[in-house]
Structure formats: structure tokens, C-alpha cells
């Protein structure tokens, strides 16, 4: 609002906003990151509905953004511990294999750390990889990685934007301890049909979008496939040249505006990884999600969003070796979600809603072509119901708060056998529950509150407290995420994980909001954390719950962030100083020890420079302390084999990690009808030999000596791709 510079509002994720003003003449500016701001003159004498259609910034590349009052959003907005990225903003950042990737780019932001070299897995504020809620158009994505994590499942051509809430998410999000990652798919161009795509070294992609039913809606279809296995054909080794190794994924979305009060969306994702060896061995895995959503305006103050959501993750293994053997595992959700937003005034909003999810987990079924009797693990069923209410209110121009709570009820249920275990993990009792019979219900209240005190137009102080509860737990004991890692629900043996987080932040902008600075500190206490007994058998074990240990944890840290937002040169510096620890009675004599993902220092520097209208250069540099790991403290011999002696868990460190990536974009042609560009990147530019794993073994030539062997994955990985749009 130009006339009332302090007035303003943010639309919700579906673009709905509400503003209450006295009658009069106003000039409204609508803006959104990555898009050109739009200004409309209005004469407000009665309630009015004004829709804005923003144009992508791409056409305005390099132009300085029109100044407006709300460039200090980070100061005034009532949210903290949140990072937002638009896919348009990340397209110049160099990444591994040149495949731009939102999950890898967010790892360059404060508080979010990579789970490993080239990995799309990430740790938020000391949390584990499975403590991130990853939502694609509201549907949970259970395994967000392709090819063991070297690619994420999110094709950035199909993604509009991404918001990461680092533990203090609003009450409408819940279900994971560390973070909520809300990823929205592109809605598609509703003005004209357009096609864009890219041809790269190991993958290609194509997107078609356009209007639907005479401008009342739009659609987008985006597909991508890698062809890494074509390189395997060059191998002389028959084991490799008959192998298959690829993934593909398809995103599709359509929306239709029935009338000014009703709009429907349908979106879906389907992806698959395929790995095979001739016709003797094969494994494939993938996610599929679907969302049907209805936005409805009951009045100009009450907004409703209703969604029906489906999510599925499964893997299949096929082995043909004399007999044919199939192994199938799956997790499948059906859910309904209802959200209301009630705008009481321009800065007085109530949000409430509910969510009901039915989970079905098939831990594993083996079928064989022969008559051999194969056992099947008991399927697991659960209901996850929750409702929430939150109130956002401004006491004055300076002081505002949002407070609310989420109540979650999680029930594990039959049909199936439920076990109780003795202290050694041996089953002592088995009870069969009939279909639909509730075995154990956990009800948790999760309070959330955020305060914002605006010191002046350039600076503010914010504080928050939140509790999060997690009832689905990923059972994994490998350093890289495996497609066969298993989700298990809370049950009579497994309690919900609980995290309480307090945080405090200071936000300051400089030079007419050209520079944005923030400093946040947090402390998090974790209950019912999961680890495994020594030598735990996690694969295909009916009694996997008996292999689990429960403990507590804590994480605390400081996050500094400085960003230059505009100009030919822009980018950011992010620094974390943090500690994350766990405490289990059976590990390290019950004292706190560093979690694997504990890294004292973590630095990311991102720079982008527009050299000319045709060339954009970019670079990123990262540095972090090595992960906490368990290295041997000695050795001994059993039956002629040297065995490593371990004493304390995670008492050693991997070597520190650092890497520089550079990239360049060359815009060959840019007209309204046709655009084309080349992107080049060089990952690990100075060839740092970073340790991916360190293993210990006897020297082959002199077996009386034992050595540490470091494996490095990537040094100097060049890539290029050709991109087009018409």
C-alpha cells in the first residue's frame, strides 16, 4: 500500500489475500520473489476482489527491481527460522552433474546441512534425515532421492517454489521433528502454450505448459529421464554393459477456475529408479503422489482449502537364479486435509483445520516361483489424525504474535501380530489384533508461538517456541540412504519422537534493503530418539522393533546469514556454529555423545555475477567440519582374521570437507518467441580429495600392517546442458 506504507499483507500459498481498509483511493503493489511487481490503482468504496497476475522476472533479467515498501519482508513478517527459494533464483547456481536441484541448493542456507557428498539428503538443526517433512503439493514424499541420493526427485522445471521451516513451522504443518519442506509445483502458463526443455550430459527434460478451457485454467506436464546406463554399454565387462541404471519422473498439474469463488487443482508426481543386471537381478523403487484440491471462498473473509491426497513409495527386487524371487515393500498413505483461514482484520487472522491420514506399510513380501514356503512380514496400519488452530495478531505496528497448537493422535492398529519383548529383545508375548482394532494411541499437544518486535523499518527481533511430534520413523543403518530403508510407525514398543525448540533472532537490513542480515540462535531438546543395538539386524526382520534403542538428544547453535539481494553481483554467505548430541543408556556409558551429523562449523558462500547480457557467472564454496564417526581404537585377531576394536561411539571425526563449484550460463538467443542457453559447470573445481568413506583393512602386501583407506567420490566433474524455451 503506497498511501499507508505500514499496511500490507501477504497472500497465502494459493494466492488468496485479504486487506481491510477505510474507503478511499489506493495504489496496491503486488509482488512475489522472482516476478515483476505489479501496481494497480483502485478506488475502494465497497468490498472488492482484485486479482493480480504477475509476470516472470526472466524477461527483466538484470533490471533493477522497482522499489516498494515490502522489500523488508524478512523484518516485518511474523515468521522465523524459515528459508524460501524460488526455482528461478537458483537456476544459475552450479550443482553436481549440472542438474539444478532445490534440495541441494537449500543445503547452502543456514541451519541446513548436506547429509553427504552429492546427497539430496539433509539435516536441519541437528536433526536426522528422516526428521524432515517433505511435501510436494501437500503430499508426503517418503524418499526424496534418486540414484542413492545423487539427484533429488524434484525436477526443478516443475517446481514453483520451496519453503523450509526449521522446526518452528506454523501449526498447519506437523509430523516431523526437524523441519517442514513445502514444495509447490508450477501451475503452468495460462496465457499461451509454451515448451521448454534441456539436453544434458546424463539427463534430458521437457516441459509443456499452457492454458486450459479458454483461459479459465492452466496445465503443466514435465518429464525427465537420465541415461547414465548408456555409458555402461561402452564397458567391455559384460557385468556392466548389460546393466540398467536410470531414473525418470513425471510431474503434472492442472488447475481450473470454476468461478471467482471456486478453484480446483489436480497434481501428481510419478518417478522410478531402475537398476538391473541382465535378466538375473533387478531393483526398482519410486514415489507416486497425487493431490486433488479445492479452494473455496465462503466470503471475502473466510478462505477454505480442501485436499484429498495420495502418497506411495515402494521398491521391488527381482532375482532370477534358478528360481525367480520377488521382494516387495511399500508405504502408502490416503489422507484428507481441510484448512480454513479466517481474516478478521488486516492483521488479525485465525487459521484452523484438520488432517486425517491412513498409513499402510508393507515391510516386505517375498514371493517365489517355486513352492518354497516364504515368510511375509506383518503389514502395519495406522491412523494419524490431527487438528490445529492458530491466531495471528498485531498488537501494534511494532509488536505482533502468532500462537496456536496442533493436537495429533496417532493410532497403530490391526490386523496383525503385536509383540512384547524382554530386556534382551526376545519376543515374550504375541497378540493378534483384528482389522481396524486400535493397539495403541498416542495423543500429543504441540504448542507453537512466535513473537515479532519491529525495532524500526530496518531491524526486528523475533522469538519462538514450538513442539513437534513424529510418529513415523525411518529404520536405516547405512551412511547413504538406501532405497530399502524401512519406515515404521509408533506402536506399543515405539514411542513418538518429541522435539521442543526455542529460538531467538535478530534481523537487520542495510542500504535500502540491498543487504539482508540475520542471526538466529536455537536450542532443541529431543525425546524418544532412535538408535540401534550393536549388531542390530534391520533387514527383513519381523521383530525389528526389538533391535531399537531409545534415548534423548539436544541440539543448539548459532546461524548467521548475509545476503545481497539485488544488482549485477548478488549472493550470500551463511555460517553455522552448532552442536548436536544424543544420549542412550547403552551407548558410551549413558553420556552425551555427538550425533553423526554433528558439525561444529559449516560455511557456504554463493556468488552470482552478470558479466553481460549474455553471460552469467556463478560460484559456490562450502566448508564444514567432518562428521562424527566411530573409528577403531585397536585391533585383534579371531580365526586368522583381523578384527577392529571399537570403544566409544562417534568419538572420531572425518576430515574437514571443502569444495568450490563454478558455473556459467551463456544466453545464446533471447526473443519473445524463442530462448536458448547453454549452462556449464565444474563441480569440485580444485579437485579436493574429500573423504566419502574411510575403511580399515590389512595391507595386501604386508598383512602385518593395517591401513586406513579413504574413498573420494567426485573430483572435477564437468557438465553442460543445452536449454530451450518457445
Amino acid at each position: 500500500m503506497k498511501e499507508l506504507s505500514s499496511k500490507g499483507t501477504a497472500s497465502n500459498t494459493y494466492g488468496f489475500y485479504s486487506l481491510t481498509l477505510p474507503t478511499g483511493q489506493y495504489q496496491i503493489t503486488a509482488q512475489y520473489m522472482g516476478y515483476k511487481p505489479e501496481i494497480q490503482q483502485i478506488d475502494l468504496s465497497e468490498a472488492r476482489k482484485i486479482d493480480f497476475l504477475l509476470e516472470s522476472h526472466e524477461n527483466a533479467l538484470g533490471e533493477v527491481v522497482v522499489t516498494s515498501q515490502r522489500k523488508n519482508d524478512n523484518i516485518t513478517k511474523l515468521e522465523m527460522g524459515v528459508q524460501k527459494l524460488d526455482t528461478k533464483d537458483i537456476k544459475n547456481i552450479p550443482v553436481l552433474f549440472g542438474e539444478k536441484d532445490v534440495l541441494k541448493t537449500i543445503q547452502l542456507l543456514p541451519g541446513i546441512k548436506s547429509a553427504g557428498e552429492g546427497s539430496s539428503g539433509f539435516n536441519v538443526r541437528g536433526g536426522a534425515v528422516d526428521q524432515n517433512l517433505i511435501l510436494l503439493d501437500e503430499a508426503t514424499v517418503y524418499n526424496a532421492s534418486h540414484l542413492m541420493g545423487f539427484f533429488s526427485v524434484f525436477n526443478s522445471d516443475a517446481i514453483k517454489d520451496i519453503s523450509v521451516y526449521k522446526g518452528n513451522e506454523p501449526a498447519e504443518y506437523g509430523g516431523r521433528l526437524s523441519s517442514a519442506l513445502d514444495i509447490k509445483m508450477n501451475d503452468g502458463n495460462n496465457k499461451k502454450i509454451s515448451v521448454n526443455g534441456g539436453i544434458g550430459l546424463i539427463s534430458s527434460r521437457l516441459t509443456v505448459e499452457g492454458p486450459l478451457l479458454s483461459d479459465k485454467g492452466s496445465f503443466i506436464v514435465s518429464a525427465r529421464r537420465t541415461y547414465a546406463d548408456l555409458f555402461l554399454k561402452l564397458s567391455k565387462d559384460t557385468t556392466f554393459n548389460q546393466a540398467q541404471l536410470y531414473f525418470y519422473d513425471i510431474n503434472a498439474k492442472a488447475n481450473y477456475k470454476i468461478n471467482s469463488n471456486n478453484r480446483v487443482f489436480l497434481s501428481g508426481y510419478f518417478g522410478k529408479d531402475v537398476l538391473g543386471l541382465g535378466n538375473t537381478f533387478g531393483i526398482n523403487w519410486g514415489n507416486s503422489t497425487g493431490t486433488l484440491r479445492w479452494n473455496h471462498l465462503f466470503s471475502d473473509r473466510l478462505f477454505s482449502n480442501t485436499s484429498l491426497i495420495f502418497s506411495n513409495y515402494d521398491y521391488r527386487i527381482n532375482i532370477t537364479n534358478g528360481i525367480e524371487l520377488n521382494i516387495i515393500s511399500r508405504i502408502q498413505d490416503f489422507s484428507i486435509k481441510q484448512d480454513f483461514e479466517f481474516f478478521l482484520g488486516s492483521n488479525n487472522t485465525i487459521k484452523f483445520g484438520f488432517n486425517a491420514i491412513h498409513h499402510k506399510i508393507i515391510p516386505g513380501v517375498i514371493t517365489a516361483s517355486s513352492t518354497v514356503d516364504m515368510k511375509t512380514l506383518t503389514n502395519k496400519f495406522a491412523w494419524e489424525n490431527s487438528f490445529y488452530v492458530s491466531h495471528q495478531y498485531s498488537f501494534s505496528d511494532k509488536f505482533s504474535m502468532e500462537y496456536g497448537a496442533r493436537v495429533s493422535a496417532f493410532s497403530s492398529m490391526g490386523p496383525g501380530n503385536f509383540y512384547t519383548y524382554d530386556s534382551l529383545g526376545a519376543p515374550v508375548d504375541t497378540t493378534y489384533y483384528k482389522a481396524g482394532k486400535l493397539v495403541k494411541t498416542y495423543i500429543n499437544i504441540e504448542p507453537r508461538v512466535t513473537f515479532n518486535y519491529i525495532l524500526n523499518q530496518q531491524s526486528s527481533v523475533k522469538a519462538s517456541y514450538s513442539r513437534n511430534v513424529q510418529n513415523l520413523h525411518l529404520i536405516s543403518n547405512s551412511t547413504s540412504g538406501n532405497p530399502t530403508d524401512l519406515w515404521i510407525p509408533s506402536s506399543n514398543n515405539v514411542k513418538p519422537e518429541i522435539a521442543d525448540q526455542v529460538s531467538l533472532g535478530y534481523y537487520r537490513n542495510f542500504n535500502d534493503n540491498m543487504y539482508e542480515f540475520s542471526a538466529e540462535v536455537y536450542y532443541k531438546y529431543l525425546q524418544n530418539q532412535i538408535d540401534y543395538k550393536n549388531g542390530a539386524e534391520l533387514n527383513f526382520n519381523e521383530n525389528v522393533e526389538s533391535q531399537i534403542l531409545f534415548g534423548s538428544g539436544r541440539a543448539y547453535g548459532l546461524e548467521l546469514f548475509l545476503k545481497k539481494k539485488y544488482g549485477r553481483f548478488n549472493g550470500w554467505i551463511s555460517y553455522d556454529l552448532s552442536r548436536t548430541e544424543r544420549k542412550f543408556e547403552a551407548i558410551n556409558n549413558g553420556s552425551y555423545y555427538p550425533a553423526r551429523q554433528d558439525r561444529t562449523h559449516d560455511i557456504s558462500i554463493v556468488g552470482m555475477y552478470e558479466l553481460s547480457k549474455r553471460w552469467i557467472l556463478s560460484a559456490t564454496w562450502v566448508y564444514n567440519t567432518g562428521n562424527a564417526v566411530t573409528f577403531p581404537s585397536g585391533k585383534y585377531e579371531i580365526d586368522g582374521k583381523t578384527i577392529m576394536l571399537y570403544s566409544l561411539r562417534n568419538a572420531s571425526r572425518m576430515p574437514a570437507y571443502h569444495r568450490l563449484d563454478i558455473g556459467a550460463t551463456w544466453i545464446v538467443k533471447k526473443t519473445p518467441k524463442f530462448e536458448s542457453s547453454w549452462t556449464f559447470s565444474l563441480y569440485n573445481t580444485y579437485g579436493q580429495e574429500n573423504a566419502y568413506t574411510i575403511t580399515f583393512q590389512n595391507n595386501e602386501d604386508d598383512p602385518s600392517k593395517t591401513e586406513a583407506i579413504q574413498t573420494t567420490l567426485f573430483r572435477f566433474v564437468p557438465s553442460f546442458s543445452y536449454n530451450f524455451k518457445f
Binding site: L147, M148, T239, L325, I638, I643, Y646, L648, I709, L713
Partner: protein, 270 residues
């Protein structure tokens, strides 16, 4: 287990694809005070049986493990047999009269500097090796496998030890039928492309041990000593008081397999 192999293969494939490199590095590893390692076997064949006691060394030391020479070692069974073992060579304590008998439960007691370590192991019924044969691996190359008839209605655990031309190949091969009551089991215990590769006429002596659950758990977890676990740990020992190692009362059956001439695979002649 098959899943693990599949994943191992995947990692291998990706590693090859991505031109990874390996090198030996120097690490400043933590050290601990030397710990006790006990290893004892009782078989259902005539003794003497040996209990070997050594200590651990630091990682950077050479693989010479100091023997423990001041131990008092006794083995008893649940039918009244009892014997104090005598030290034959440093660290090696041997029996002279004790007999290993199927079905009996044996107790090992080791006392060193007034600290006592005990372990209990029960000797299961023996199972014969049905056949040993060569088969094709679906990863390429050949595998040597054995077949056995699995006794029904109980949990069975096995360990396979093999010697090539009289030399024992280090490594632990254990398997069990806990999750599935198989009628017969085929178990591949070595590849023909082992180092050094097998040649025609090589003699492979195979021991099939029937072991109890505690021993099985020891060797199963000892096999986990890999770099891909997030939390490597010491094997789960069946000896009390924090001693490393195992005590194993097992029945054993042996068979010899002579590696045959390579089968001629049809190849194109130019």
C-alpha cells in the same frame, strides 16, 4: 542378505560410474588400554581342544597380538565332566581328557588377575554336508556351494570354514534358518575368482559346523565390521565381563571338494 548384496552391487556400480579414487591416509586414531580376547572351540570329535587368550593392540602397531600366559582356564559340562586346561604354548590352553558330546552344555571359565570370565555354549546335533558343487554366479564367475538337509522343527545355525590346499581362508560364513524353516539349504561360501584364483586340482576342505544361537550372533555381528554402517561396533560376544571373542561348542562334519577342470564355454573362433 540378498538385499545387502544388491545394495553392495549398486554402490559398486555407482562408484565405478563416478570414477571414485582410493588412497591410504594417515589418521591419528584414539588408543585404548589392551583388552582381553578369548577364543575357544569344543568339537564332537576327539580333542585336544584349544582355548586361545591374547590381548588387543593399537591400530598403528603390527598385527602381533601378545599372548596372555597367567590365566586359569577350566571347561565343565552339564554331565559332570570338568578339566583345568594346561598351557601348551604361550596363550594356548589345551584339554587332555575332556570329550565333546552332542547335546551337552559346556561352560568355559577363565580367571586372570582375580577377574573371571565365563561363557556357556551348547553343542547342537551334527548335520551332514550333502554335496559340494560348482555353480554360476549371477554376478559373473563361479561359486562353490554346499547343500544340506535342514533338520525340521527347530532353529538351526551353521558356520562354514574352508581350507584351500590345507590353508584356512580367514573370514566368517554363518547362516541360519530362523526366519524360514527350509527343508534344504544351498549355501555358497566362496567364489572361484578368490585371490589367488582356484586352479584345477585344488583341494577345498569344508567344515560344516552346527553352532548355537549365541555363537551365531557373534559371527553374524563380527561380519558387520564394514565401513558402510553408521555405527560400527564390536561383535556381540557370548563371554561375560567384557571379554572379546567367543566360546563355541559345535558339532562338525567335513568334506573335500576337488576343483574340476574349467568347463569349456563355447567361444567364437576366428
Amino acid at each position: 542378505m540378498r538385499k545387502n548384496r544388491a545394495l553392495l552391487f549398486t554402490i559398486l556400480l555407482i562408484a565405478v560410474l563416478l570414477t571414485s579414487c582410493q588412497k591410504v591416509i594417515q589418521l591419528d586414531l584414539n588408543t585404548t588400554i589392551p583388552q582381553l580376547v578369548i577364543q575357544g572351540d569344543i568339537y564332537d570329535e576327539p580333542g585336544p581342544y584349544v582355548v586361545n587368550i591374547t590381548k588387543t593392540v593399537n591400530f598403528d602397531q603390527s598385527n602381533v597380538f601378545p599372548p596372555v600366559t597367567n590365566a586359569t582356564v577350566t571347561v565343565t559340562d552339564n554331565e559332570g565332566q570338568s578339566e583345568e586346561l594346561s598351557q601348551a604354548t604361550p596363550g594356548n590352553y589345551v584339554t587332555s581328557t575332556l570329550k565333546g558330546i552332542v547335546g551337552r552344555t559346556y561352560t568355559l571359565k577363565v580367571t586372570i588377575d582375580e577377574k573371571t570370565y565365563t561363557s556357556v555354549s551348547t553343542m547342537p546335533e551334527a548335520v551332514e554336508i550333502d554335496t559340494i558343487y560348482l555353480k554360476k554366479s549371477f554376478y559373473g564367475g563361479g561359486l562353490i556351494a554346499l547343500d544340506l538337509i535342514n533338520p525340521p522343527n527347530k532353529d538351526n545355525y551353521y558356520q562354514v570354514i574352508h581350507l584351500v590346499n590345507g590353508k584356512q581362508i580367514p573370514g566368517f560364513s554363518v547362516f541360519g534358518d530362523k526366519s524360514t524353516q527350509f527343508e534344504s539349504i544351498s549355501y555358497s561360501f566362496m567364489t572361484t575368482s578368490a585371490t589367488p584364483p582356484l586352479v584345477a586340482g585344488d583341494s577345498i576342505k569344508v567344515w560344516l559346523e552346527c553352532i548355537d544361537h549365541g555363537v551365531f550372533e557373534y559371527f553374524r555381528t563380527a561380519n558387520r565390521d564394514g565401513g558402510h554402517s553408521t555405527s560400527p561396533a564390536n561383535p556381540v560376544s557370548n563371554i561375560t565381563n567384557g571379554a572379546l571373542g567367543y566360546f563355541n561348542a559345535c558339532s562338525v562334519r567335513k568334506k573335500v571338494f576337488i576343483y574340476p577342470e574349467e568347463k569349456q564355454t563355447p567361444t567364437a573362433v576366428n
